[in-house]
Amino acid sequence: MPSLKTLRNRINSVKSTQKITSAMKMVAAAKLRRAQAQAEAARPYACRMGEMLAALAASEFGNPNASPLLVGRPNAKTHLLVAVTADRGLAGAFNANIAKAVRTQAAALEAQGKIVKIFALGRKGNDALKRDLADKISGTRNFVGKKVISFQDAEDVAKELIRGFKAGEYDAVSLVFNRFQNVMTQKPTEQALIPAAAPTANDNATEHNYEVEPDDGTLLERLLPRNLAVQLYSALLDNAAGFYASQMTAMDSATRNAGEMIKKLTLNYNRARQANITKELIEIISGAEAV
């Protein structure tokens, strides 16, 4: 049986752990609110952009010179997976889920005979994936030390991705990130970035009736990189909101567990204390009887 002193020490250390986890939970909750507001604010632009792109993309159906960013390359061989994770841990399975999704996806693509490359966006994803897929990681970027993600950050990454695509380093790009559904659920999701959306014959039936300035091709050439940055940005915002939500949940259960642990330890402590007293009493009584 552990001594009273060691029990007391353990109780104290669990108590201070509990203080830390409950403070972290509070901080995460505050940051979550901010991240959610930011994601909310970015939605209208992404929404309009999507509508515009869909209308214009329809007109490109069957055009052999359509931008490869839109329709992709024939016989795409190399596939880039952009793994979006957080830069920090202590958020339950948040980052591990992405790493798992990337591994599954990479295996599936390789089974189809494709070459897989990985771009790790976020420090934790890079740490997790470089253990077994180091040879596949072609680039990494993180936002350590940044309080909020700005659109400029997303645009820089988008430019880097487009540069690689144009240089022929890969033929298709997709994004793996945690879609923020609500505070309890973040769903690992795969989303195609390049090709953006291959128009189908069906779209063509409802050809858009917009006048376009300067012309469809030129406009798309500007719109597509922009759209890519917007999608990355919204994925990064979802990632940030999801991370704080996940951290909040993880820290909440850690606080609860610490509470249970303290209860159990206190019970043990009190039992040990009583046993000690009883033992002392027995010693005194038997001493008195002996006299």
């Binding site: 209208p44 632009y45 659109f151 300035e213 300067p214 030129t218 406009l219 719109l223």
Partner: protein, 140 residues
């Protein structure tokens, strides 16, 4: 009759309200949009978005570029960067113009895309400087 105007940046919805007319700086020239305008999608160059109400310019925004979608009842301006005209810092604008000029001078003519980006940036910077004291077109 009014037309619903939305001005959006990637980071937020800046303005959404009904206005009488709006003039947007399209790449091919300024476009005045009144209610019932034909459906149109255009890219934007750097310049001023003028919002007209009761025959006068009610508000002005500088946009550095982007896109606009026009339908019969709605205008959506998807701008890259937006500054309220009254809040333009002329010193910063001048610095941006110098930087853009240098970048334009340095760009190679062979790289069509870089050339296009640099010239767009130069136009946007020039427009920013011009926007500090725009022409008095608001007295119709």
């Amino acid at each position: 009759m009014a037309i619903a105007l939305e001005i959006l940046s990637p980071e937020k919805l800046l303005l959404a309200r009904d206005v009488d007319m709006v003039v947007i700086p399209g790449t091919e020239g300024d476009i005045g949009v009144l209610p019932g305008h034909a459906k149109l999608v255009t890219s934007l160059r750097g310049g001023l978005v003028d919002i007209y109400e009761n025959g006068k310019v009610a508000e002005r925004f500088y946009v550095s570029g982007g896109f606009a979608e026009v339908t019969e009842s709605r205008v959506a301006v998807l701008a890259d960067e937006i500054i309220r005209q009254a809040e333009i810092d002329s010193a910063k604008a001048a610095a941006a113009l110098t930087a853009a000029k240098d970048a334009f001078a340095a760009v190679s003519l062979d790289d069509a895309e870089a050339y296009r980006d640099a010239s767009d940036a130069l136009i946007a910077a020039q427009a920013l400087v011009d926007s500090v004291a725009p022409h008095a077109v608001d007295k119709i």
